[in-house]
Symmetry: C2
DNA sequence: CTGAAAGCGCTTACAG
DNA sequence: CTGAAAGCGCTTACAG
């Protein structure tokens, strides 16, 4: 089944390829009515559809962008991708999705391959490594937007949650309910991953703001695997925390596994707030008080900024960090 | 910043474009050691990376496949996509993700655009419409694999859960626990969407197998919005069901919203099993008994089958329906 | 062992 | 108002 090409259409309509191409690109300026009709008919009869790859070769655009997430299984990433895809669909663009698994080697490989595929731009949740790679991209003015994470020394447009504010909202809510012994649970803080790091900062500032003394025993940070033991240890302190802020959905699951096992009552024995409005928040027993991220808006913004860069050939007037407001959703766990 | 092309490399290395191309494609058969080295050096110095679009134009491959899901926000779809992407990554392929939202018009648009982009194959969760479109594709031997849904009259390789078995497992578990009044909750059964339809069939067969009389009052099907009222009605029957099979995760959420609101105790007042091992199954109170789908295996299989088709130019010897076994995970709700 | 030439399917000045 | 020609960046017989 040989594909029909523009040449076939031209022959069938008795015009030149150029004229067909003009027609396809809506340059009807000087085109005769009859020519137009003949071409239209030929296209319909041959069921012709142009090869976008060939067009892209000439026009230097693949009408495709790449999105590199850590892992598409994370709900936040999924929502961001959905928003980006909706935006792209309106512009007749497609999106290639890549999972870097927080692995800088995979990240670099994907970026190189996407660029080899002439992708018009990339939205990435950067691993934080590959600084040289991104520096090079910056210098070339290749369109890139960062999502969720900042890389020190790299000035690239970035979409972020107001992470400090997120922690602030949680601590405020706890204080309002009378808590003073407020703990926080986070994945490892060794790497300066933006969301974790900033949320911790916000937590500390909020305590200070409320005149609560900072207690290092109430900060739990570690790999998911060791979280259970660490949690047990923290809750068995002579004076344990009465409220806990879970820094993301993964840590929330660990905490709930623990409270279920140990039959800890929420919020009586332990109040709980987490960042990310998980799917089961309102049906859980008790319903979970959460801090929601506007994931769809953030994804949409990332797409908008990227398309502006693409239009302006990467020469954005000013590189910005866009901060989005988190929202406290009070339910029963706080 | 003009991109460096194969011509630049050729000039720099003092050879012809052909030779550079041979080098790039590892056809070293007769290539002189020095030539090789000179090219290698030139590539490194110019930081050359080939334009895959141009290569694709000649080779008639975009090393890209399309995946059309109903909605990437569904966990099952996400897992399937992740498995497909991992598979593609090993083959140096990329995947374009599209959300058809169960809208046949969007579905058709995506398929047309993906094909115009010379995508090498498509994995789709078909809406069930666009029968003519798929018939045409079939006749052209264009590589397509269906996921999750069958379309009557279209013989295309399809990956499915053994849906009857899924319902069977649930009913068996209920019967084992002494239940005889077993209900089922499903989205609308009007359209013959494969999973719903087959799971209902399995439910009926299972009842028959256990000698339980089929009671139409225990079958609830409807839009998500009206489910709550219908649920209330069913539970207020003179003789209400004592166990419910939720046909997917969306209906599960509705049921749990209801039971939470009405303080129905699970499993004492109502036993519950749902298809899809949701993320909160083990931390819910009570932990949920579920039927898990092997989503990753299913996604991987879809990719394997598609790549076989691509290799064989769509001329697969035999079109098959691949059935995957569901797994009963007994927790506390049954 | 390597190069000149044609071609993949388009677009785009330019000429007439 | 329309066509011939060159070119986008590759690959691939074929010749030598």
């Amino acid at each position: 089944m040989k594909k029909t090409t523009i040449a076939d259409v031209a022959k069938h309509a008795n015009v030149s390829k150029s004229t067909v191409s003009q027609y396809l690109n809506q340059r009807y300026d000087y085109m005769g009515e009859q020519t137009k009709e003949r071409i239209e008919k030929a296209i319909a009869e041959l069921k012709y559809s142009p090869n976008i790859l060939a067009r892209g070769l000439k026009q230097k655009s693949s009408t495709t962008i790449g999105v590199i997430v850590a892992n598409i299984l994370h709900v936040f990433s999924t929502q961001v991708i959905r928003a980006i895809e909706d935006f792209c669909n309106e512009k007749d663009f497609h999106v290639i999705v890549c999972n870097a698994d927080d692995d800088p080697v995979k990240e670099k490989r994907y970026i190189d391959m996407l660029r080899a595929k002439q992708v018009d731009g990339i939205i990435a949740f950067p691993t934080g490594e590959n600084v040289e790679l991104y520096k090079g991209i910056m210098e070339e003015n290749y369109p890139v937007v960062f999502m969720d994470r900042l890389i020190p020394g790299i000035t690239i447009n970035t979409i972020l949650l107001d992470n400090e504010q997120a922690a602030f909202l949680a601590v405020n809510e706890f204080v309002k309910k009378g808590h003073e012994r407020i703990g926080v649970v986070s994945p490892p803080l060794t790497q300066k991953v933006t969301p974790r790091f900033e949320r911790m900062e916000g937590y500390k500032k909020a305590l200070e703001h409320h005149g609560i003394e900072f207690n290092p025993d109430y900060i739990l940070s570690g790999e998911i695997e060791e979280m259970h033991t660490k949690l047990k240890k923290m809750m068995r302190l002579p004076v344990p925390p009465t409220a806990i802020l879970a820094i993301n959905d993964r840590t929330l699951i660990e905490i709930l596994t623990y409270t279920k096992e140990e039959q800890v009552r929420i919020p009586e024995d332990l109040a709980l707030i987490n960042v990310d409005d998980v799917s089961f928040a309102s049906i859980y027993n008790p319903a979970l008080t959460t801090i929601a991220q506007p994931a769809f808006e953030m994804g949409k913004k990332a797409a908008e900024v990227l398309f502006d860069l693409i239009r302006d050939k990467g020469l954005s007037a000013d590189v910005k960090v866009y901060r989005f407001k988190p929202e406290l959703i009070v339910r029963e766990s706080s």
